[in-house]
Amino acid sequence: MDIVPQLILNSIIAGAIYTLIALGFNLIYGATKFFNLAHGVMVAVGGYAFFYFAKTLGLNIFVAVIIGVALAGLVGYGLDKLIYLPLRKRKASNMVLLVASLGAFTALQAVIAILFTSQFKTLSQNVGTQKLFEVFGGIITQTQLIILLAAVLVMAGLVLLLYKTQFGKAVRAISDDEEVARIVGINTNKIMGYVFFIGSAIAGLAGILVGFDIGIEPTMGLSLLLKGVIASIVGGVGNIYGGVLGAFLLGFVENFGIWKISGEWKDAIAFVLLIVFLVFRPRGIMNK
C-alpha cells in the first residue's frame, strides 16, 4: 500500500493546526515584541471551556464553540490588562515579560487541572461514527476537514482585518514602531488589549478543534505552543504569512521525518528543524 498520500494529508492537517497557533502567537509577538508563552494555555482554556459548556451543561455545540473561543480571548485580554500592561508601563525588559508569561502559563494550567482533573477527555460526541473522506488514496476525517477549513478562514479573516480595516492599520503601525504609533495618536495599549483578545481567541479555537480530533488534557498547550513557536521562527517571527508557511513546513518535515522511524520522535524532529533554522537563518524564511 502506498503511504505517501496519507503522509501528505497528515502533514497538511498538522500544518493547519500549527497555523492556528502560530497566527495568534505571531500577531501578539508583532505588537508586543515578546514571546508570550502563556499563549499555550489558551489552547487548553478554549478546549476545556467548550467541554464544560457543551458536555457538562449540554449547550448547543455552536453556542459552546463561541463561548469557548470568547472565553480564551477574554483570558488573554485579562492577562494583558493585569500583568503585561503594568509591566509595559514600567518599561520592563522582554525577559521579565517572558518570565511573567511563563508564570501565567504554569498557574493557569494547574488551575485547569484542579477544576477538571488531569484526565484525558475527548470532545467528539459519537466516537467512531465520524464521516471519512478519501482523497487521492488517503483518508481524512470530517473533523480534520473542518480544521483545514478553519485554518484557511482564520487566516483569510486575519489578513482582511490587518490590511483592510482601520484597526488593522493601527496594529501594523504598532508592530512597526510602538513609540511612533503612540505619538501619532494611536491608543496603543487599547489596541494591544484587542490583539491579545484576538490572538488568544484563535488559540482557543485551535484547542476546541484539537479536542475534537484527538482530545483534551490540561497539559495539551505545551507541545502545541512549542510547535506554534517553531513554526513562527521558521517562517519569520511576527510575520503572518511567515507563520503559515512555517507551520506547513513543520507539518511536512515532522510527518515525513517519522516515515521510517517511530512516531514518538515527532517532537525531536521539530526541534531539530528549529535548531537548523536558528543556526542558518534565525530571522526565518520571510523576514528580511
Binding site: F34, A100, G103, A107, E264, D267, V279
Partner: protein
C-alpha cells in the same frame, strides 16, 4: 524527625540546582529554562548504571556528569550564539525534547513506567541507606558546588560573565570571544545539575520522566528568581523557601492530587508577582 531529614535532603538537591542555574541566569544573564533536562540526565545515568550494571554510585555520578557535559556542549554551542528571548526559547524547546526522549526511548529508560530499585551508595563502609548519612552526603555535595560556584564567580571568569550580561558587544570589542564563555558556563552548570540528578535518583530510588518536565525547570527558575539573581546565597534561601512552602499548603489540608497542582499555581503566581513588584528577588544583584 525522619521527615525533616527528608525535607533537608530535598532542600540540598534543589539548592545545588539553584546555585548552578544562577551561574547561567544570574551571572551571565542567559535565561535558561532547561535545567531539569540536565538534572534528568544525571538522574537517568545513575539509575541505568546502578540497575543494569554493578557499577557504584560515584562511578555513575561521573558518568552522569560526562553525559551532561557532552549534551550541554552540543546544544550550548548552538544556543550560545543567541541571547535574550531567543536563548530562552531554545532552552524551553530543548527541555521539552529531552523529556520526550526520556518518555519514548523505552528500551533505555522504560518510558513512563520509570526505573525502580535504584540502590543507595556505599563508601568506606558507610552505608548511605541511612537517611541521615545521605543528608550529610547531599550537604557535602552542596558545599562543594557552592564553593566551586563562588570560586568561579569571584574569579576573572566570573567578571567576564558579568560583563557579557551587562554589555556583550562591549566585552567582545575587548577581544573576548563571548561565545566560548557562554558555552563554558552553560556546560559547567549542566554538569552540576547532573550531580543533583544522581543524588535525587539514588535518594528516591525510583525515577520516571515526569520529574524532569519543563515545569521542573520553571520551578528551579522560580527558586533563583525568588532568592535573587547573581546571588548564590539567595539561591539557597530560595530553595529553602520553596521546599518548605508546600508543607504550609499541606497544613491547609488539600487532597494530595489537588495539592500538587496547587503548588504549581503558587509557583506560577510567585513568578508573576516577583516580575510585577520585585524583579530582583529577595536579595538579588541583577534584574532581568
Amino acid at each position: 524527625m525522619e521527615y525533616l531529614i527528608h525535607l533537608a535532603i530535598l532542600f540540598a538537591i534543589y539548592a545545588i540546582l539553584g546555585v548552578s542555574l544562577n551561574l547561567v541566569v544570574g551571572y551571565t544573564g542567559l535565561l535558561s529554562v532547561t535545567h531539569a533536562a540536565f538534572y534528568g540526565i544525571g538522574a537517568y545515568a545513575t539509575a541505568i548504571l546502578l540497575t543494569k550494571t554493578g557499577a557504584g554510585f560515584f562511578a555513575s555520578v561521573i558518568l552522569g556528569v560526562i553525559v551532561a557535559i557532552v549534551v550541554s556542549f552540543l546544544i550550548g554551542a548552538v544556543l550560545s550564539k543567541f541571547k535574550g528571548d531567543y536563548y530562552a526559547l531554545g532552552t524551553f524547546g530543548f527541555n521539552t525534547i529531552v523529556f520526550a526522549i526520556f518518555l519514548n526511548w523505552q528500551s533505555l529508560t522504560r518510558g513512563p513506567l520509570g526505573i525502580p530499585g535504584i540502590s543507595r551508595p556505599e563508601l568506606f563502609g558507610i552505608n548511605f541507606a541511612n537517611n541521615f548519612n545521605f543528608l550529610i552526603l547531599a550537604l557535602l555535595f552542596l558545599g562543594l558546588i557552592y564553593f566551586a560556584s563562588r570560586f568561579i564567580t569571584s574569579s576573572s571568569l566570573g567578571r567576564v560573565l558579568k560583563a557579557i550580561r551587562e554589555d556583550e558587544t562591549a566585552i567582545a570589542v575587548f577581544g573576548y570571544n563571548t561565545l566560548y564563555f557562554k558555552l563554558a558556563i552553560f556546560v559547567i552548570s549542566a554538569a552540576m545539575a547532573a550531580i543533583a540528578g544522581s543524588l535525587f535518583s539514588s535518594y528516591i530510588t525510583f525515577i520516571d520522566p515526569s520529574g524532569f518536565r519543563l515545569m521542573e525547570s520553571v520551578f528551579i527558575l522560580a527558586i533563583i528568581i525568588l532568592g535573587g539573581l547573581a546571588n548564590l546565597r539567595g539561591s539557597i534561601l530560595g530553595a529553602l523557601f520553596l521546599i518548605l512552602l508546600p508543607e504550609i499548603l499541606r497544613f491547609v489540608g488539600f487532597p494530595a492530587d489537588i495539592a500538587a497542582q496547587m503548588r504549581q499555581v503558587v509557583y506560577g503566581v510567585i513568578l508573576i508577582l516577583l516580575m510585577l513588584y520585585r524583579p530582583q528577588g529577595l536579595m538579588g544583584e541583577y534584574k532581568l
